[in-house]
Symmetry: C2
């Protein structure tokens, strides 16, 4: 690494440090992050990040979450190949939520094979639905996404 | 209320009951809810709902949240007039997050007078910014929204 590269790297690290310092993580050290498709505006998913996940996201420019069920860092797409390339990320007015605009590689964010995780929609006009209808198709069989 | 109206009301209540029963509220009885402008796709805010807030939202077709700081139901817009009319609401694959598509009356969701709460954007190319830049203008002075 040259001196110039090193200096640039340090400056970016400072920006990242400052941004992370302004985020209000909860008592578990986590913040909610919404991933939105940059091109269409479709909301793809909501997950959680700790400071380490947010730092990696800003460094790699790919979404890294913290899996609460597995209690570890989760580089989205590490198994499926469906990574999320970061375009921009912003915190909200009180700093306890983040909105990331991304390109969803493969066009599938949900482990069910749908584009978005938010497909279980309230409906009061389908008497067969029990109040919930699927508003989006399965694009790819999950067994083919993750290997059977 | 006629018999037919009463029956219809009961049916809707059943749909609402079923939808709420499928939501996985956290140990505090809350779920995260993202409000997105139906027309533009812009993400406006993220807040929390308990079962009562979600029920009122589905009944009124206006967003009702649960304020964690005030520990009470919060009918969005009750002070400012900036209510959010509900178009649709969906839960995600694991039922622990909701996405509501809304019309934002007044065009301002944020208490700072901005359209969206997500205006504090990460930037690594503005050396004066300290890593955070505002990506949206204040549309109305908060003192005029809430009364001085």
């Amino acid at each position: 690494m040259t001196f110039a590269e090193n200096t640039a790297e340090t400056a970016i690290d400072n920006f990242i440090d400052n941004f992370i310092a302004a985020v209000k993580f909860n008592t578990d050290g986590l913040v909610t992050t919404v991933a939105q498709e940059a091109s269409s505006g479709e909301v793809l998913m909501l997950a959680w990040q700790n400071a380490a996940a947010l730092r990696l996201t800003l460094q790699k420019r790919e979404m890294v979450y913290f899996s609460r069920s597995r209690q570890k860092l989760w580089h989205k797409g590490e198994t499926s190949g469906h990574i999320q390339q970061l375009h921009s990320i912003a915190m909200d007015c009180d700093g306890d939520a983040l909105l990331a605009k991304v390109t969803q590689v493969g066009g599938i964010a949900c482990h069910t094979g749908r584009k978005s995780c938010f497909y279980r929609e309230f409906s009061d006009n389908d008497t067969t639905s029990d109040g919930i209808v699927s508003n989006a198709p399965v694009l790819k069989d999950p067994q083919h996404i993750y290997g059977a």
